[in-house]
Amino acid sequence: MRIVMTPEDMSRTLSRMAHEIAEKFNREIAQAVMVGIRTRGLPLAQRLQALLRDVTGVTLPLGVLDITLYRDDLTQIGPAPLVRKTELPFRVTDRPVFLVDDVLFTGRTIRAALDELVDYGRPRTVRLFVLIDRDHRELPIQADVVGQFVATELDEIVHVLLRETDGRDGVVVARRTEPLDPEALV
């Protein structure tokens, strides 16, 4: 098991991401909406929303996507993964969408998210912000803003821990068979 982000690292990384977003997409922010991908993309989107408000003075409307029904592997897994609500309390048509997730890996989650988004309308642009890029892409999908690139093996799992979902912040990479020890982050 290796620690790739402590709570302090995560705080600094998210702050830097907010500044990078504000700089790169300053022409879009006034019209943009922030959409987190369940599960951990939502609290990350909430944090980026707050940080962007501090940096730009703009509070982006916040939504959440559950991409389960758009997965391309439903016939290859079992049992059926449980679905939670998608909540987009705004129209996405002709607006920039800032899509947020915790880990970018094969790109299939993002493909599913894009499919779901276009069922809601036609965004003007879709920007992708991820906390961790762990490589091993299977689709031509890249993030616009990355918190940290982490080289990983295929049999490793990137565990993103967040206060809102796990009681603490941090990122740990561990072998699939290796037990996770969150205490190591303290």
């Binding site: 439903l74 290859q76 049992p79 993964p81 449980l82 609500k85 909540e87 069922d119």
Partner: protein, 342 residues
């Protein structure tokens, strides 16, 4: 979707679903029922979009095999399947080879030969869906079998109550009418008992024989007693087509004794939910003023029927149980990754 609500994190631990068929409520656990209702809540959102379709069951075939008349249930299953991108084939007994003398089993085996993924069955004989499971590979969903069970109706009833009252336990649920012939009553009795609510059955003694006292219910022949303090009142249709002999003097007298009227509703709790599985016989089991009144959630039940059936179809067809084996073909680490989340 419009409106300005903040999205919810919803970190409640989701349940699990490992069943291949949905034949009845009786064998389900409380957790399994809640799992269906949780997934149904997410499915309901799909029906509120401009594009009411998701690709989850693309390539799956659902056969609707109805040996009894049905408008609501069959349409509801068909819409549910189509909203999940499944293909549907509707099979009605009046236009089928059954009318030429083909046996029920031969009909089923012929349909099985066409390799459907799920068969939704309604049949006049109790146990027919269970019988089918011995002969076919497809998932089987009971859409009502004789006077036995109608599981998706009870699930949509529960979803409606949960949405309106915010809970499923500690309620008084009064089920009124033709209990003897009602599969809806049976499924609801099992469901509400499992959820920790008190069920009262009420009807004329000829439609509520003493055998029902063996169930986990309170039985009364006085409508006012059943309604007293009730949170939910489920009115059942008088199923005259199933009566082998008339079990009460007249329909008019039935209404006088057991019809749900605005006057009688005064006995129930303020904000009581009035439910009916449909189709309604206005002026026989329920007064129009009640059916169309402020406490009626009958049309919400119909809307929730689609969400519940989407959830059931998704849970039965949405995975590949054969690939759970960690050393099997589903063990490619790229398909077991956190890329799709835990």
């Amino acid at each position: 979707m419009t409106g300005r609500t903040e999205p919810t994190l919803d970190m409640t631990s989701p349940g699990q679903w490992h069943r291949r068929h949905l034949l009845a409520i009786e064998p389900l656990s409380r957790e399994e029922i809640l799992t269906v209702l949780d997934v149904a809540a997410a499915m309901k959102e799909v029906s509120q979009r401009d594009v009411k379709k998701v690709p989850a069951l693309r390539g799956k075939t659902v056969v609707l095999l109805f040996f009894e008349p049905s408008t609501r249930t069959r349409t509801s299953f068909e819409i549910a399947a189509k909203r999940l991108s499944a293909d549907t084939v509707s099979f009605s007994v009046s236009t089928s080879s059954v009318s030429k003398g083909e046996t029920f089993l031969d009909t089923v085996l012929n349909i099985q030969a066409m390799a459907p993924d799920a068969i939704v069955v309604r049949h006049r004989s109790a146990g027919a869906p269970h019988f089918i499971t011995n002969y076919i590979d497809a998932c089987v969903i009971n859409a009502g079998d004789g006077s036995h069970e109608h599981p998706t109706q009870a699930l949509l009833d529960a979803m409606t109550v949960r949405e309106r009252l915010g809970r499923l336990d500690g309620l008084k649920v009064a089920i009124v009418g033709d209990i003897l012939h009602s599969r809806v009553a049976r499924s609801n009795v099992f469901l509400w008992h499992k959820m920790g609510s008190e069920v009262w059955l009420c009807g004329p003694p000829t439609l509520l024989p003493p055998v029902f006292r063996r169930w986990p219910v309170r039985v009364t022949y006085r409508l006012e007693e059943a309604l007293e303090g009730a949170d939910v009142v489920m009115v059942l249709r008088l199923q005259l087509e199933r009566h082998v002999s008339l079990r009460f003097p007249s329909v008019r007298e039935y209404f006088q004794r057991y019809g749900l009227t605005r006057e009688r509703l005064k006995y129930a709790k303020e904000g009581v939910l009035i439910m009916h599985p449909g189709p309604m016989n206005r002026g026989i089991e329920i007064e129009s003023e009640v059916a169309d009144g402020p406490y009626s959630v009958i049309l919400y039940q119909v809307a929730n029927g689609i969400a519940v059936r989407m959830a059931v179809l998704y849970l039965l067809l949405g995975g590949a149980a054969s690939l759970i084996n960690p050393t099997g073909p589903g063990s490619d680490p790229r398909y077991l990754t956190t890329d799709y989340g835990p």
